[in-house]
Symmetry: C2
Subunit: 554 residues, 2 copies
């Protein structure tokens, strides 16, 4: 159907594959953070006793390039390379604030290549960019190998805090995956240590800290402050990445412990600062980060929305792979499902469960409080709890019914309640009503495939005309690639970081009330106490002890 | 006799000892390149969500300290330490040109300690300095462990050039010795990685390059250009030294392939730039570096003077250890010798052989051309070659005669000829006569103990009144310590490097003539062709194939 998905091999890159090439795209405006200069240098002689480095430096100055004294390993590298290339090469220099320096010396005809990484809690995406043409030459994804230490950020932080060795192990696994991914992406271009001249790395605050070698301890305890929220331009070697000797890695700023550099990168991709009117941008995941831009203000928050939209904690939930129900439509009492690659259905992914619940609401299978109507022909009970048969066994790929249980509906209520509460609280701070937003930007894998009308139907999104809703895909990666192509976008990221006002929801005086209201599928209609019907007409309160909940994820 | 000698254990620091403390000395003027600031930071709370690093940065700004964004490992270190010290510590910052940053956070009461290293080809001297008081707390010396790969610089370069592994091995041995020396010097103060906040490292150009991880290949082939002659302030960790996380190492500039940072450091210690009149400063070793300052000019050269004054290539030569003849006086025909620590004589060290040859000249044992007078009662022949019995077997510590052979005299002629030729050529370039110099500064271990009247007697030094000759000791180390105590002296070093005009003697049109003239013990008297009397009145030309000679050392 024309959608491009990043392939995620089931294991880490040790067995990963090289991925598809993107279509050749060139860019009108273009200015990366590095520049190549072809340089010819006079060789030393008895009449010219200048040291190698002075010789190179003089030639650079003659070419209009003035650099402060570089680190000695760069001095050595440049002099060795210039001698090896018979004093003729392509000197790559980088300039970013007060960090100006020589990246490497390439053969005269060699391209300047760069990498962008988007480190997600679950998967890592990598992009190889040709800085001369601006083209993305390759992209690939791998599972974040830290997943063996815990599926979510909280359990990884807990694991890292056991002892310094555990923290180091989590970090080294991540670095190994990034270096592997770099080698896979550059197959055919040379070793990353010889061809990668620049890099941008984004991720949530915990992944940022793991990657940057910063302590994650304080991300696990209130008040969840990061070690740093600034943007950083760091030598790749210091971070443990084997790129060119003088290559730097740009890390955009974090906004808070649970609003990370990946969100900032998404905001860069969304052109948040240059848009007019009120713009709300959100990236839905286990934690959903939301930013609201209005005039000069930029408000941000994070909601613990749980992993339901990633297929977790849903009885028949699964990742968005072939056979997953990705869309559901209802006509009267008949439910139509669409699966990824039209494969026989074997489960439900995020966009599918969202559609399913919206359709169940539409068809009256559940009411606005999430209670099942036992009278519906497709509703049955198993072990005393009601469940809705979405796809009967005879048409599934595995011969079992695919169902939506009452517990699944609770998961969706919790998720949508948290997200909508975040939206409402930001709008209150900005003094606007959520259904008057000029633009709603939805990013992320789930955000790309969700049906906005379903999100509006269950009350996760405010009721907005469809044309005001933009789905921009995996925008954190797009933003990272953009910051490679356009060095100036790093200033945009920095401005976003500096301008952001972070609103902590867990201690916000209105949060509990708003969240409770928003647990209803249609808050405007909800007056009754919030309970979810379980077996035998009994009720279970939505506050539970098992994850995810609005509190115990934080 | 009140002289302080750096103890050199016979093996490397693996078995070395902690050395003597210097007397407590304080300094009136004092300003190291680092500064300590006691800092108290508000801890995070639910009402104060600033990231750790912002918190520390704000407190620094409030204390009037503004720093650019440091490397992430420093961010981590500072935040970890501040948390560990309950947000109260002594923040050490360093400022040197555009390299300003945080060195470490110490407990509030901890001292700021620094190290100076003088890496000689033969030995390495280390100094521990308390930057709060300016005191040198300890000093120690070890044999340069590279010595197993060759005694002189040329053979080490040749060894390093065999393959990258050999170069890496030479470097790692050196670094191991420096880290060992650092640990020995800081016994009682803590691990160097936690207490050393600053360092200065000097050495000849080859040692500088080995230490700095620069290629020494081009130092072994004409035109002997260094990779860099600039001064460098480099993170200690990048150089392989385990000091505080943000500690830097300052490396003064080199002047040329054979005029190194140790010579520049000596010129700093000699206050060369602020002296009036004509000042010639030299450091005598296997290579003797000479600089001449006159007005705004600073001329430098290097002479291949050989290892004779270090006791090598002298039949009964030895290092300056107890039992070495260090001074010789003649009264009529009677030679008086003085040994180090008045121990029974077992050999002759550099100052002793200089005195001995001067005394032999005085007593007519040799003539101005270096020919032996066979008629002298203490001159005999062994294997056909004449030799002078300086100490008869019955009074020596080992029961053998201590002699000065005709070959020994040739070695001294070659050494003094090279040194004096260098002096003469620099004076010619400056347009002055060498016997009109206002000041002659003599540095180095040998330079400390030599008797200037002997050096003048054999024509190694121009004939100057004794009060114009200053012996300043191991001034390279003194200069390095000074650059720790006074950060501003690093600018002096930089100025010396920038102002130096290097004169290459090997290709100098006058060198061969001047050198040949200066082989005579009294050039002003010499008219005849330069031959050295050997056995049976035969003569051997002074140009030989075995080291050291003026050419094959370069």
């Amino acid at each position: 159907d024309g959608k491009v998905k990043v392939e995620i091999p089931p294991t880490t890159m040790a067995t990963g594959q090289r991925l598809q090439l993107e279509g050749a795209t060139t860019f009108d405006e273009f200015g990366p953070a590095v520049a190549g200069h072809n340089l010819e240098v006079d060789p030393p002689s008895l009449n010219d006793l200048r040291p190698d480095w002075v010789r190179v430096g003089d030639a650079l100055v003659a070419s209009g390039i003035s650099l402060p004294e570089p680190p000695l390993r760069i001095v050595r590298h440049v002099c060795d390379r210039m001698r090896g290339l018979s004093w003729k090469g392509r000197v790559v220099v980088a300039g970013e604030r007060n960090r100006v320096g020589i990246v490497t010396v390439l053969p005269s005809s060699a391209p300047m290549l760069a990498l962008a990484f988007d480190i997600g809690t679950t998967k890592i995406a990598g992009y190889l960019v040709d800085l001369d043409s601006g083209r993305t030459l390759a992209r690939a994804g791998v599972v974040n190998p830290q997943i063996v230490f815990g599926e979510d950020v909280v359990s990884r932080i807990a694991h890292a805090n056991r002892d310094p060795g555990s923290e180091a192990l989590l970090r080294s696994r991540l670095l190994d995956a990034l270096n592997d991914l770099a080698r896979h992406l550059t197959v055919g271009y040379g070793d990353p240590s010889e061809c990668i001249v620049d890099a941008v790395v984004v991720g949530n605050t915990a992944m940022h800290h793991f990657f940057a070698g910063l302590s994650v301890r304080q991300l696990g305890v209130a008040p969840y402050v990061p070690v740093t929220s600034s943007s950083h331009t760091e030598p790749a070697g210091e971070l443990g990445l084997s790129f060119c000797p003088g290559a730097s890695v740009y890390l955009p700023p974090n906004v808070a412990g649970y609003v990370g550099a990946d969100h900032v990168s998404m905001l860069v991709a969304a052109d948040i600062l240059t848009r007019s009117g009120s713009v709300l941008a959100l990236d839905i995941g286990t934690n959903t980060e939301i930013s609201l831009k209005l005039g000069e203000r930029l408000l941000s928050c994070s909601c613990a929305s749980g992993p339901a939209f990633e297929g977790a904690h849903i009885r028949d939930g699964m990742r968005a792979v072939p056979g997953a129900v990705e869309h559901v439509r209802v006509s009267g009492d008949v439910f139509h499902v669409q699966t990824i690659e039209s494969a026989p259905p074997v489960g439900i992914c995020g966009s599918g469960i969202l559609d399913a619940v919206a359709a169940m609401l539409e068809a009256g299978v559940v009411d606005k409080r999430g209670r099942f109507h036992g009278a519906h022909p497709s509703v049955r009970r198993r072990n005393g709890e009601p469940e809705f048969v979405l796809v009967a066994a005879e048409t599934t790929g595995h011969g079992h019914d695919i169902v939506v249980t009452s517990r699944d509906v609770v998961e969706i209520q919790l998720a949508k309640g948290a997200i909508r509460a975040g939206i409402e609280i930001l709008c209150r701070h900005a003094g606007i009503k959520s259904d008057e937003l000029d633009t709603l930007v939805v990013a992320g894998a789930f955000g790309t495939y969700l049906d906005p009308s379903s999100a509006i139907r269950i009350g996760m999104f405010p009721s907005l005309p469809e044309h005001r809703i933009e789905q921009i895909g995996n925008a954190a990666g797009t933003g990272a690639v953009r910051m490679l192509r356009f060095g100036a976008e790093r200033q945009t990221a920095r401005s976003i970081g500096e301008r952001s006002e972070y609103i902590e929801l867990t201690t916000h005086p209105d949060f509990a009330d708003v969240f409770t209201d928003e647990l209803f599928f249609d808050a405007a209609l909800g007056e009754e106490s919030v309970t979810v019907a379980g077996s035998g007409g009994g009720s279970s309160n939505v506050t539970r002890n098992t994850p995810p909940s609005a509190t115990n994820l934080r």
